[in-house]
Subunit: 195 residues, 2 copies
């Protein structure tokens, strides 16, 4: 069993939750965007400033063996596939749920890394009145977009498209402004789109 996104596991700066946000921002500056880290930093900013409360779900781990002779050391475990999205929380009383993805592609966002479980999850979020979207970082274009999940669901389920054209983001998404702190002002994009 592999790590869901096929990449090797790297310890995340965000796990050190007691470090100040600014410290982490500075040390990661000019090293190219680590989307997950940028979102986690933005969430920390939004939390500290009482703007919203959005958290990352921990990666699910399937634990096979724990050694209690050494203080509950896990000695055998595997990464499990996330059956939901990575982020959820609350903003202005509404339920927020989203998935964040990176692509180097300049003309479209490939849907290969989205699982059927995630599509099912996002459809249910919408059905129950939640706000569901994707944050897509077009790395090569240095553009980050918020796109409502309904477009992703449509492209995923109908017509057999394996990707979403960049133009769909321009036409239907909201570009997320990038700054110093918060790094990704995605709440402004939510305000534009949903409130």
């Amino acid at each position: 069993m592999k790590y869901p996104n096929g990449q090797e596991y790297k310890p995340k700066t965000s796990r050190k939750s007691h470090k100040s946000s600014v410290e982490i921002s500075l040390s990661s500056a000019n090293r190219g965007m680590n989307l997950e880290n940028e979102i986690n930093l933005s969430n920390a900013y939004y939390k500290d400033h009482d703007i919203c409360l959005i958290t990352k779900r921990p990666t699910p781990i399937n634990i096979v063996k724990v050694d209690y002779s050494k203080g509950a050391k896990i000695t055998h475990a595997y990464f499990e596939e996330q059956s939901t999205t990575d982020y959820n929380g609350v903003y202005k009383s509404r339920y927020i749920d989203f998935e964040a993805k990176n692509t180097r592609n300049k003309t479209s966002f490939p849907l290969g890394n989205i699982t059927p479980h995630q599509i099912d999850h996002l459809k249910r979020v919408i059905a129950h009145g939640g706000i569901a979207f994707f944050i897509i970082n077009f790395e090569s274009l240095q553009k980050v977009y918020l796109l409502d999940a309904k477009y992703v669901i449509e492209f995923y389920e109908n017509g057999g498209r394996k990707s979403i054209p960049y133009q769909c983001f321009v036409d239907n998404g909201v570009e997320i402004e990038q700054g110093y702190n918060p790094r990704l002002k995605y709440i402004e994009a939510i305000d534009k789109k949903y409130f």
Copy 2:
């Protein structure tokens, strides 16, 4: 480092998400309540019947070492303390967030297992307009109550009480009806209290 609640890790039935709910219900019948399992089964029922979408956050794991020679086998890791609550999701467009706890105590619910992080988290949920509560199983009394988080926060922060009297649950909580499927009809309690 120990498992946050001080108990040994047991693999959860709920992880086998592809088993039918009924099958699991039958096999766990009359063996005393495993609160987490009952909530997970109720959530599966509520999801399947399009009533709400509430999921359990995975236990956060601090990964020290991964062996990629054997397909991303985690060989060294520790349980981390959950800094949020165990459950969140969406019901009737509202954000839902709660923690579930078991007690054998007959006259009060001891607050020893609630962390300051969880109290902070629940205060923020309330501030952003989310619905925040505890589900407490009084094991010896065979009674399960939903209690709004504001009472727990109050007892936790003021007056130095180390527990919440059972009478507070009777006076301010909503008893959760137990049944066959869903096992814990906690959505009915949410309806009574919040809608």
